[in-house]
């Protein structure tokens, strides 16, 4: 289990053949590990007659809405606000380490 809560991760960008459990809207985005759910059989092989092994660790990953969609406003009528978050379950083989946040020049 290489990732711990608090780690920054990037969701891989990929289009494997068949069904996969990582929506495209979150691919390429950087989030923070919120929780580690444990190991589950990999649905990407399990659903095609395989045994789903090796198991994949499933993580809950937290993203700032402003990072995903890049158009937050502060008004109460906005589609989302500055502090709003999205949390999504992602299997480990879809994660890669993200460099620590660096302040802009």
């Amino acid at each position: 289990m290489p990732y711990q809560p608090g780690d920054r991760v990037r969701i891989r960008v990929a289009t494997p053949s068949g069904h996969y459990w990582t929506p495209t809207y979150i691919q390429g985005k950087v989030g923070i590990i919120e929780a580690v759910h444990g190991a589950f059989r990999n649905p990407e092989t399990l659903s095609y007659g395989g045994d789903g092994r090796p198991k994949q660790t499933l993580y809950l990953v937290r993203f700032d809405q402003t990072h995903i969609w890049a158009h937050a406003e502060s008004a109460a009528s906005a589609p989302f606000c500055q502090n709003d978050r999205l949390l999504i379950d992602i299997y480990e083989h879809w994660l890669e380490p993200a460099p620590p946040r660096v302040s802009k020049e």
Binding site: L60, Q65, S77, F80, C81, L87, D89
Partner: protein, 209 residues
Amino acid sequence: MHEHDTPDPHLPLAEDAGLTYYEQRVEAIQALLIEKGLLSADDVRRAVEDMDARSPAVGARVIARAWVDPHFKQHLLADAKAAIATLGIDVDTWSTLVAVENTPAIHNVVVCTLCSCYPRSLLGVPPDWYKSLNYRARVVKEPRTVLKEFGLELASDIEVRVYDSTADMRYLVIPQRPARTEGLSEEALAGLVTRDSMIGVTPAREPQK
């Protein structure tokens, strides 16, 4: 013969047009399984009956207990299935479950953008809107707009947390206990916990005056 603009109300109700491709495939597979003796038509009927018999009342009972018993609530937040098992509810066949708590500072709402994953054991059959492309596509992108359409307007300093349950986990929202419910029995409290409040698109019901 007189032409009618509207269908003749005396005509017998027609069957829907033929089966779709997938309906035909499911029927063929079911017929094969029955023919090979792997299951019976009654097994299928019973499974459907069990599924339809589940209702949000199970979830409401769990939430009401969490409202009155802080230790139970902590257990529910730490290990939802184990906590629910202590109520005598059989959780053996359930998917892994995570409970998330609404507070004055945080509002949680659940979706499955990839399909329609839903804690059926606790909430029964999901409502049609939960499965609609409209809800699934929009609640991750404009959660406050969607919540407003459900009648819920949240102050901008409340953190909205959208859970996209795409995988093996199911999510249950613990709504906030409504004000002025101190004197209510656990059973009466359960009556305030609605299906939609456990998905996170509304608060729990206010008690009647």
